[in-house]
Amino acid sequence: MSATGKKKSISLEQRRQRTAYLYIAPAGILLIVFCLIPLLASFYISTQKMGVDLSKAKFVGLDNYTKIFTDRRFLQSVTITLKYTLVEIPLQMVIGVVLSALLAKNTPWNKLFRSIYFLPVIASAVTVGVTWQLVLHSNIGIFTYWLKLLGFSDVNLLNNTGTALYVVVFVAIWKTFGISTIILVSAIQNIPESLYEASAIDGAGKINQFFYVTLPGIMPSFWFLLMTRIIGSLQMFDIVYTLTRGGPSRTTTTLVVYIYDTAFNSLDKMGYATAMSEVLFVFIMIITVIMYAIMNKTSDD
């Protein structure tokens, strides 16, 4: 009896395991074929000295990798990327969480605000770049002009080496925090109402409810956002490219912008550019693994 019972429980567990693998399989196969295989291929490219012309590719071993760490432009763009990430992430997360807490209830006003906040997400990066360039233009920009009417003259945020990066941060948040809000709002809406009722009975105020019910309730989504935003920030490209092209004087040249420029602005640095992205890849991977461990630990608690 006991033997069969044990056997049964194993097979139940095995069956659940098999189900899990089965569920992961479709996405897994697609990701392996269309993401991981090209990724492996790119490792091969990073050992080549090559440009567009594949027939002229030359194997150089790890030369591309050793070159990276003496490249002052690489180090500069890493610094800029880190600075960008450190400023963008906290702002993005705080604004996202606070706003979604305020807008979670489905009142008509909230729906209107949510729609408004989502609008920049819909706009394409190219549009965003052109629009902000003109709006913030040091002379004919409408924002600059309004600021001038308010008494702030000579505002030139985009063409200033000290402020351009923060403009990029601002526009990036402007463009994407609608995503954070919509994801967090849907997470808050998934929190059972009974939890709020229970805490209200315990005498918790709105603020306390936010900290003791809302925040723990949205933790999985919060972690998702935090991790994906960090991955995204470290790969910052499109807004910079359409807004400042990395200028003025390289102060907004993030790593991926530098990688992209390197690949195209020279004859045979495609391999070198790829090698830099592999370094970025490993770096992001390390950060992700650490965060994943923290995330698993906190969710176990």
Binding site: F143, P220, S277, F281
Partner: protein, 289 residues
Amino acid sequence: MEKGLVRTKSVSNVRVKNGVKYLPIFIMLCIFAFLLLAPLIWMCLGSFKTDTEVMQYPPKFFPVANALAENWRRVLSSIDFLNLTKNTVIYAVGCTIPGMFVNALAGYAFARFEFKGKNVLFLLFLATMMIPFQVIMVPLYLEVYYLGWLNTFWGLIIPKVASAYWIFLCRSAFQGLPKDLEDAARIDGMREFGIFWKIMLPLIRPAMITVFLLSINNCWNDLLWPLLVSSATDMRTLSNGLAMFIGDRTSEYSLAFTAATVSMLPMLVLYIFGQKYFVAGQATSGIKG
């Protein structure tokens, strides 16, 4: 169950009591909304202006002359609007609908099952997000080429269906659900797929709508991939058609803004429509907390 009743009551209480208290927050939200909207409204108004008006000093927020009809005529005369929209819809829906199923399924497995290699597999999945697209662009293109999928919708869609981002998002949503939920269903004798499809998936409806909207939006604004895979002119998507109005050297701003406004409208309608379903997730659930 009885929860619905309680909730309506508490909401109406809050509304009466806190109407005044929320005023500062309301004003703050309004200021925020204005800051957000101003550049976009300015852009949309740009489609009413002539190029000269866009570039004049002092700058004007509102258009003086109405050049909208002319701008529209020029945009519509240079692109095959209907065909571009058709292609974009096929691409966006083709990626999103199968993607929602495949990614939700994987996300569900990562959130609710224990199995060997779970963490490694998940990190492996995440790894696919960590490399800039430009880097895998060439190998990926070669793959699609060897599959014989260039200039077909298969080539456009299939590589974009699975995405670690959506898997991760679905996983988070499923994790947010109470733990004892599927056990109850299992005791009731439901099959695994039935639990996923009939119970769990409807519960994360807001998240799924989020996935739907964002994924459609991503495809809608995607420039590079459709262009690489389907370079034939009759396979072109809307974003690429409209990108032609923004030149590197010449700046026809009013046309660019008209084009941008045109491409934003369908997404806006979709979003407002999608909001209607935002509430449904938990109202119909009847979870015991």
